[in-house]
């Protein structure tokens, strides 16, 4: 029989008030159940290309739906119970409070499993995490969005912000390069962007097909089509690592200041909270300090791109 005087009292952090309060992921330095996801149902699935699908999610609890507010460029952790969690950037407009849209490529274990689920299935999201594009800072300037391949997915969120506040921006150019015409994402919105929102969309493919009657080549070839005024242009770049180097150094040569070029980096995050260190770039976390960095930080971070 243990002597009560010498038994160490148990401290149950489940019962403490801070653990019971509702999770708020953007507030800092408070203990919360950050591992508890918001349950969502998949309300729609659209096949965009052979490799990518657009998932539309609806957070079930109205209270949690109220909490989940994000800014363009942030990402969330998508949980498929039993398979795992993946970091996915949010492709929908941040003013859409009802539905989240995630453009997902079939790339690994979890996303392959996700391609087999059907409408109505339940998944969970945690987040939003990370930094965002400074849309207010960009207001009043020309915007240059450069996307390569799946890089269009994270850029759709700032693009819809621009579309909703179109009067705040001058010229908006979107340069979009993919390998083959069949890999173009969000083709159903191209006309809307061009006609209604007056966005100049330039697409280019590496390997054209017979039906393709637009440009063929690398994304850097598109720079010949447009005129850039470095003094009043903000650039957002997202794409495969090799594209960052080429495009950013080109823009740098044009004279766009490094703090006006923003890149969205990609890493395999396991926690999203700056704890697992899997997404470390140099000495910063992609999940907490990123995924949106200005080119100045990326230049100074080792092994970033």
């Amino acid at each position: 029989m243990p002597d009560k005087r010498f038994v160490i009292p148990r401290q149950d952090i489940n019962r403490e008030a801070f653990a019971a309060s509702i999770p708020d992921f953007n507030r800092r330095s408070e203990i919360m159940k950050t591992d508890m996801g918001y349950k969502c149902s998949i309300t729609n699935i659209v096949r965009l290309t052979e490799q990518e699908k657009l998932f539309q999610l609806h957070i079930l609890e109205s209270r949690e739906r109220e909490i989940f507010r994000f800014r363009p460029g942030q990402f969330l952790m998508l949980e498929l119970p039993g398979y795992g969690e993946v970091p996915i950037s949010i492709s929908s407009s941040c003013s859409n409070h009802e539905f989240l849209e995630l453009c997902i490529r079939k790339a690994g274990h979890v996303t392959s499993a996700l391609f087999n689920v059907e409408k109505g299935a339940y998944v969970a999201v945690r987040g939003p995490f990370g930094s965002s594009f400074p849309m207010d800072e960009m207001s009043g300037n020309n915007i240059l969005l450069i996307a390569g391949g799946l890089g269009m997915a994270p850029l759709r969120s700032p693009l819809s912000w621009i579309n909703e506040h179109r009067e705040r921006f001058e010229n908006v150019d979107v340069l979009y390069g993919v390998k083959e015409p069949s890999q173009l994402l969000f083709t159903y919105q191209f006309d809307e962007w061009e006609m209604i929102n007056h966005i100049r969309l330039h697409t280019i493919v590496e390997h054209g097909t017979a039906e393709w009657n637009s440009r063929t080549g690398m994304i850097t070839d598109l720079f010949n089509d447009i005129t850039i005024n470095p003094a009043t242009t903000y650039a957002i770049v997202c794409g495969p690592p090799v594209m960052f180097k080429v495009v950013c150094s080109y823009l740098d040569k044009l004279g766009i200041p490094m703090n006006r070029m923003f890149v969205s980096l990609e890493r395999r995050m396991h926690c999203g909270m700056g704890k697992c260190c899997r997404c470390m770039v140099g000495s910063t976390f992609t999940c907490v300090d990123g995924p949106v960095f200005d080119y100045w930080s990326v230049m100074n971070l080792k092994e970033a791109i």
Binding site: P2, F6, V7, Q11, S29, G84, C271, C277, F285
Partner: protein, 386 residues
């Protein structure tokens, strides 16, 4: 000539805490306990609580004893004169495998359950560097953007009894300023001959000790404590110059030193497993065998393992051994933003002792500092096995 008690303690604290920790240690109470009474105290504590202490499990090829923190049931089980355990005490706070949450499926729907429950344990005989490592983990895991409840629960429910020791010849805790510790423990014992000099840092420890015969320290005890600490401080044989190491690491990012040591590295991840401050992990989920549930597990990982920085699509941001070894040294000796860029290495040299390829932090850092003799003598072509 005797100084007053307060004067000596102020002197001792000043001497051994040249780096300001920012944490209060005013709440500390100092007592002296005889060794016989200390045995009675430990026996009582061990009897009433699940306790873990250093025990010899094996001896290595050179005949040195190998110690581990294992369950103990009496004072005699504990090897108080141990040098350092092969694996660190972090595994009581960051287990190799830890269940983060559990999913229960019913039909198409599922529910998520999270459990932060832990039972109180007593950890006996932690070395100052081990306790410093826990303080660093506190900084990283509790002060960041998203404090970890899993860690907090374990940390709050662990009663830590520290104990000072004479260093091993390859320890370089003194260079890292972690050979003495001011905070992060419940009770700290310094061996001053026939008695233990106790630093009591928590009300829990004070309440337990009320039941035992202790006395306030005399001036002679304080002098013996100073002498003991001086002896420890002067016994360090290994020294690593860490002056301005963060900037040297930045400057030497493309140094051939990394390739040289990287070619020796076997990418086995042993160093991270024994390290008292390595906390990187991976998260994986698995279905229960009856398919009615699933668990999300956290598994301690090592940045030296080949797939640490692989992203979807197969691109590896650190494909070479040298890149990953460099990354580990960056984390250890430069620190990351999460813990205010402080060095997180405590200098216990567990990684150096455990490394199968004989890579030693001391040699790597000296090599990086372009110290010529180190370059010439310490790098052999084949991995030296110990």
């Amino acid at each position: 000539m005797y100084l007053s008690t307060k004067g000596i303690l102020a002197f001792v604290n000043e001497l051994y805490s040249s780096k300001p920790t920012g944490k209060e240690c005013d709440g500390m109470i100092y007592k002296v306990i005889s060794k016989a009474e200390f045995k009675r105290f430990i026996d009582t504590l061990v009897l009433n609580n699940p306790s873990f202490g250093p025990r010899q499990v094996d001896s290595d090829i050179r005949g040195d004893a190998v110690y581990h923190f294992l369950p103990v049931t009496s004072f005699d089980d504990i090897a108080f004169d141990y040098t350092a355990t092969a694996s660190s005490a972090k595994h009581f706070f960051l287990p190799f495998r830890e269940e983060l949450s559990r999913f229960a499926f019913h039909g198409q729907d599922w529910n998520q359950h999270i459990n932060y429950d832990t039972n109180p344990i007593v950890l006996i005989g932690l070395r100052p560097c081990d306790i410093s490592a826990l303080n660093i983990l506190d900084d990283v895991l509790l002060n960041g953007h998203f404090p970890s409840p899993y860690y907090l629960g374990k940390r709050k429910n662990t009663f830590v009894i520290g104990m000072d020791h004479l260093p091993r010849p390859d320890c370089f805790c003194k260079s890292m300023n972690h050979h003495s510790v001011q905070t992060g423990f419940n009770l700290f014992c310094s061996d001053i001959g026939e008695e233990y000099y106790l630093s009591i840092n928590s009300s829990k420890a004070f309440n337990f000790l009320k039941e035992f015969n202790t006395r306030d320290p005399h001036d002679e005890d304080n002098c013996r404590l100073v002498e003991r600490r001086k002896l420890i401080s002067n016994s360090f044989l290994s020294e690593v110059d860490v002056t301005a190491l963060p900037s040297i690491l930045d400057i030497e990012f493309d140094s051939p030193v990394w390739e040289k040591w990287g070619n020796k590295c076997l990418s086995c991840g042993t160093c991270a497993m024994v390290c008292p401050t390595c906390y990187c992990y991976s998260v994986e989920e698995s279905f229960a065998i009856d398919l009615n549930g699933a668990t999300r597990q956290k598994r301690l990982y090592s940045c030296n393992l080949v797939d640490f920085a692989v992203v979807a699509g197969g691109h590896n941001f650190r494909p070479k051994n040298g890149d990953r070894l460099k990354y580990r040294y960056y984390h250890q000796h430069r620190g990351f933003a999460e813990n205010a860029n402080q060095q997180i290495c405590v200098g216990c040299n567990r990684c150096g002792r455990a490394c199968l390829a004989g890579i030693n932090p001391k040699d790597v850092i000296n090599d990086l500092r372009m110290e010529k003799e180190s370059c010439l003598t310490n790098v052999s072509l084949s991995p030296g096995r110990t």
